[in-house]
Symmetry: C2
């Protein structure tokens, strides 16, 4: 089946890499806002009978959803055989439980919308905590790929004598895998959360690692509060300025600047969300799924 790549605004760089590696064309589109804030979408190239790969990472999802939905519907109405959504960051994965009466399972509501217009979805390390796997909430074919090996390789190639630091117990499984693959030691801290922006962190005895370069690793860097607090604790314990590595560069508000100001050596992220810190390209993780996906939604 012929493949064509359609890029939502902001995803041009990743789309180019994927197109190049798949030797598939990038379809020409017009995606803009009318003066009143409504979206105008047009696909200029032929998509009939083709596999349409839509590249749209989903941080700040509210503003993007309608354009994405319209683009996918137009592709289908123009005769696309199937749509494959490449969303390296998947939104609304953290609202996976109703803590108080009157709240909603927005992870499920969001997935039910996306499942209406994408025949398949591939994403990187979604925040699977209480929801065990994407198939529990997405009704279309999904594929989860992991950044761990690429991060391990980056560490091996760029940092000498590192020690990996996971900010909380949720990160343990994933930090331990990165550490194992890179053949380096790791430790995991404990986090106690008070509201969206306030967290407490307990740090173990780190004197063993005073000669190492600490690598703080987390899946999502959003407010960066956890990382900044951890940086403080590591500094107080006499460790070197850490290198911070995140898979997903969400960086809410001033978070990136605040993290820089906290005294880190540098900040490195994967290219799941376009950001100046992107240094680890994960695009080859998407290629097999895109090549093999061949499902026509009825």
């Amino acid at each position: 089946m012929n493949t064509i790549i359609l890029s939502l605004p902001g995803n041009e760089e990743l789309s180019s890499i994927i197109a190049s590696k798949l030797d598939a064309p990038i379809g020409r589109t017009t995606i803009r806002r009318f003066p009143d804030g409504e979206s105008y979408i047009r696909i200029h190239d032929e998509v009939k009978g083709k596999k349409v790969v839509i590249v749209c990472t989903l941080h700040q999802p509210n503003e993007k959803l309608l354009s994405l939905y319209f683009l996918a519907r137009i592709a289908k109405e123009q005769g696309a055989k199937c749509t494959c959504l490449v969303a390296p960051y998947l939104a609304y994965m953290r609202q996976d439980k109703i803590f108080n009466k009157g709240e909603g399972l927005t992870s499920k509501y969001f997935s039910s919308l996306v499942s209406q217009f994408a025949d398949s979805i591939i994403t990187v390390d979604p925040h699977l905590h209480r929801i065990q796997k994407l198939d529990d909430i997405y009704t279309v074919q999904t594929e989860v790929v992991h950044a761990a090996n690429h991060i391990s390789s980056w560490i091996s190639g760029n940092i000498s004598n590192p020690v990996l630091v996971g900010p909380d117990s949720e990160s343990e499984q994933w930090v331990s895998e990165v550490a194992k693959n890179a053949g380096v030691p790791f430790m995991v801290l404990e986090k106690i959360r008070h509201g969206d922006r306030k967290v407490e962190v307990s740090v173990p005895d780190v004197t063993l690692f005073n000669d190492h370069t600490p690598l703080l690793i987390d899946d999502i860097i959003s407010t960066a509060r956890t990382m900044i607090q951890t940086v403080e604790h590591l500094k107080n314990a006499g460790m070197k300025p850490p290198v911070c590595i995140g898979v997903h560069a969400v960086f809410a508000d001033r978070a990136y600047q605040d993290l820089l100001d906290s005294g880190v050596e540098k900040v490195i992220t994967c290219n799941t969300i376009p950001h100046i810190t992107n240094a680890i390209d994960l695009s080859d993780l998407y290629l097999d799924f895109i090549r093999q996906f061949n499902f026509l939604k009825i």
Copy 2:
């Protein structure tokens, strides 16, 4: 059936008026953004078995849709008997035709989303042009109410010796009705559109009306280009500075300031979109529909 009003942010004033006239409570909600841009929604009051009236006008729709969708789904999951969406301004009504291959019928795509979570919708003068009636694209119960009588009353009570001016042929039906009800003369201009922001207007001989106060009337004031150009023509023809009346105060970007600067007497709108120009309250138009709607979506 018990009724409870839920207001999306920005709709508090209209919600209060409706709640007061229906003698129904406004339900307490938390509707905010997480630092990463995702929506957090919670309904604090009991909605079980109730008719839930959700007030959310839909200008700048892309940013609002997910919060609205989540709120309606939570209401249903909490046992609401039905949801009635009061959306005085309805979005995506102007993209009602595919002009070029590769475009989409976004009015239909948008309506199919909204029809999933609202059991009924009431709106004011939607831009029905090629689509004849809302039922052609909405699959749930819809009600369209008209601002014309309220505008006529406002004119009768506030302007002496007026002449109504419709900016284009699309406005004729609606301007003529306002004029008839107010018992005043009217004329309609011709508009030729070149793209989103550029229009040409042809003006008839207006010397008969040099002693009148011209009232420019349109359903939607968005970029205000049409109105501003009409103001220029009327000024050049020696008429008094006009009063501009719009149903829907969309006012894209600097449109309101530009309209003021063009030399108008004043600008008046209905309260379908909250704006400093709101002077004509349409809320009583919604009450019968809200009271009578009693449909449980299966």
